[in-house]
Symmetry: C2
Subunit: 355 residues, 2 copies
């Protein structure tokens, strides 16, 4: 078990070392660690060395000049100057919140940015302003649209954070695939097969092999197959791709640059970096916030107290599992698997930063 | 086969007869028939007598005074005055488009409205303005959230229409369930069983019985079960419910009034009517429309020309199947099943309108 403070301080020092200004190193480490706290182990410190390798490859700018390049009362396009998404996305959300204060809603499309950790962290920034936060990003192509053998979309997550009154907020944060990459890694570590409907092999056929993705296969859109609605998951992933990248001028579809630095960037880019789409909706642009939040409490209690199917003891509200992880891990620490520990130790040696 | 003109004219006369002003009768019949044209047979003239019964039950106001009750530069709340959703939703989209012209985006939450046919019709209104249209609505509770035995959500569809340049537009229009109600009716007519993952029975157990919904069972969120991501479909349905109804002051969750008029309205309503959420995004609020649409063409060609999995000859772009139906049915007519024909004949007799 590793304490939150210890891991955040390590990440903070690593970001300082690669040249992030102090405030941004702090922002980046907080955003990164929020994944570990919330139980999304694939998106937290496990990725720290990956971010450093992107910086070494010249793909991440540690002190970016993040700029608004176009705007209207409710929209803006932001150029992230190759910054860490962990820093660029919160900046974009601040702009969206500011727009929402005056125009009712704010919508910011971001180009020339990098992976931003978990979408839910950024969406949740809107909550304390009595706003709804909405965040999406495109990502490296690992997903085959319905009927496609080729990988053309990323796991393209969507997060929506909605405040309530006495209930904790509703925070949905999900990839638009049946299962995201991190779940395959867990199966590989446990030497287990994958449920049918998660992946297809390099020929485009259903498979239970959790290594199929490494062997040229693809993740499947939410819905798994046509009969179970995979065309809807494909629609969602496509909408995230278009909103994140075609609004902003980032790369889209199969042109999105890979997260891993050892894969070369494609020669025929269609934009700059990856793209995010970030929105803030001021609640009282529709209805007094107190009234809205009272109804949210009612919604949440009704759903949480629903009768359950056999073998299950409660219906969850989006955000419940992550919040429970956060409480538990702030108290008892964050478990890391051996591969991640050895990776962090190597990083510690390389950078001369105590782990 | 029935010609589009014949069916639209019949629907138009029926709407006139119940008291719709001429312009609104024309709008309602066009919106309704767009479903038949696009192959969404469950949402077109098959529902005409249902709308009339709602009017007979006093739940539909044929000449509503549709009003903006609150607004900011980029948002509005609209009271539909119990109008047909087929009329209220296009009005709300017009308001959203107007807001988007000045503020960059426009977002309209609608309460006190009724079912609006297919979401894609309303979303597509934005296209000719070089805008993206986004439309969602909540609906009668038929769907059980993950782990719930109770039906708490509607099939809550989302539609997003995005213009391209030389390619036809991208139009996604999908329920947030594995399969919508209309598909069960098709199975019942063919005397076939339902794929596992579409429905659960009244105990909350998986079932292949296509009549399970009538017997107290429930439709399942997109993803089918927890292992295949049904919690993500549940999140989507919940977001549609909250955006459509809690922003606007409509009924939400299990309180949404049933579409069928023979079921009584609940006594403990939490709002007025059902709710829609309707948005328009001006493309050049982000980027010159020509540039955006050129990239959309590139996106669409790349996906349409992707290599396919065995047994499939092409990857579809959202909107392709509906557009092909529309071309074919405008030319050759619209097929109706016997039950629908007999229903329309009864309606014809009752209202004294030639069918």
């Amino acid at each position: 078990m590793y304490s939150y403070q210890r891991l955040q301080s390590f990440a903070h020092n690593v970001f300082l070392k690669i040249g992030c200004p102090a405030g941004e190193a702090s922002q980046a480490s907080e955003a990164l660690l929020s994944a570990d706290l919330r139980g999304v182990d694939s998106h937290g410190v496990a990725r720290l060395s990956g971010y450093v390798r992107l910086w070494e490859a010249g793909r991440v700018n540690a002190s970016p000049e993040i700029k608004i390049v176009h705007e209207t009362p409710s929209t803006a396009v932001v150029d992230g100057d190759r910054g860490l998404g962990l820093v660029v996305a919160p900046r974009a959300m601040e702009i969206a919140i500011k727009k929402a204060e005056s125009a009712g809603t704010g919508w910011v499309a971001v180009r020339n940015t990098n992976h931003f950790g978990i979408a839910g962290y950024h969406a949740s920034m809107a909550l304390s302003h009595d706003m709804i936060g909405l965040v999406m990003t495109n990502a490296s192509p690992l997903v085959a649209p319905t009927f496609s053998k080729e990988r053309l979309l990323g796991t393209n997550p969507i997060a929506v954070a909605i405040p309530a009154k006495n209930q904790p907020p509703f925070i949905a944060d999900f990839s638009t695939t049946t299962a995201a990459n991190g779940k395959l890694e867990i199966l590989q570590r446990k030497d287990e097969i994958a449920p049918l409907g998660w992946i297809q092999d390099e020929e485009g056929c259903p498979t239970e092999n959790p290594y199929a993705l490494e062997n040229g296969g693809a993740l499947l859109p939410l819905g798994s197959d046509r009969e179970h609605g995979s065309h809807k998951g494909y629609c969602l992933g496509a909408i995230v791709d278009i909103f994140s990248a075609i609004f902003s001028g980032a790369n889209y579809g199969p042109w999105v640059p890979p997260f891993v630095s050892f894969l070369p960037l494609s020669d025929d880019r269609v934009g700059e970096g990856i793209g995010h789409f970030i929105g803030a909706i001021r609640i009282d642009a529709f209805r007094p916030a107190e009234e809205f939040k009272t109804h949210m409490d009612n919604w949440i209690s009704r759903f949480r107290n629903a009768e359950t199917i056999p073998g299950k003891d409660r219906v969850l509200i989006p955000g419940d599992p992550e919040r429970e992880f956060e409480i538990e891990r702030l108290e008892n620490g964050i478990p890391l698997n051996e591969k991640v520990i050895s990776d962090l130790e190597k990083l510690s040696n390389k950078m001369g930063i105590e782990f």
